[in-house]
Symmetry: C2
Subunit: 94 residues, 2 copies
């Protein structure tokens, strides 16, 4: 499940409309729709707002939001998995 699917599920669980969340994020409904479908990416600031609006936690949203970005970066790359291993080592080091 990617970030868009996740916030859509949470939104529907709370019976909220796109336009309500969009208003809170101060963007228009089309923009929110695009974020939900993964056509546009939410900014971190917006993700943090969504954590509150959707009654969830950073731990629930941030990793999946970051993972989308990593995936976008590597999805067409022959050496995508290899590069993940390297990045993981570097992350663990510091």
């Amino acid at each position: 499940m990617d970030f868009g699917e996740k916030i859509k599920a949470l939104r529907e669980k709370k019976d909220l409309l796109q336009r309500q969340l969009a208003a809170e994020l101060q963007i228009d409904t089309p923009m929110f729709s695009k974020i939900e479908r993964g056509e546009r990416r939410a900014k971190k600031e917006q993700v943090l707002l969504l954590v509150k609006l959707l009654d969830t936690t950073e731990e629930e949203l941030l990793p999946i939001w970051l993972a989308d970005q990593v995936y976008d970066l590597l999805k067409d790359e022959k050496f995508g998995l290899a590069s993940l291993e390297i990045a993981e080592r570097k992350l663990k080091d510091n």
Copy 2:
């Protein structure tokens, strides 16, 4: 070893000057210097050229170049490692 360190090592092994490689990449020496020190990022097209110019392989350069980008994305993130796990699963799926 990050991408910059890698190409610097290869460059010195071949006794090449920054200005020689910069000329081949059609950028100026300061720009090449910045790439070597990781202050700027090489474009993929430039990485592929460097593979040839430095007598190495894509397998040697691309993963480390991609890993730098993943690392940049996650280095200050609390959930960096968690997001790597998610991204890895998605990559393996397709």
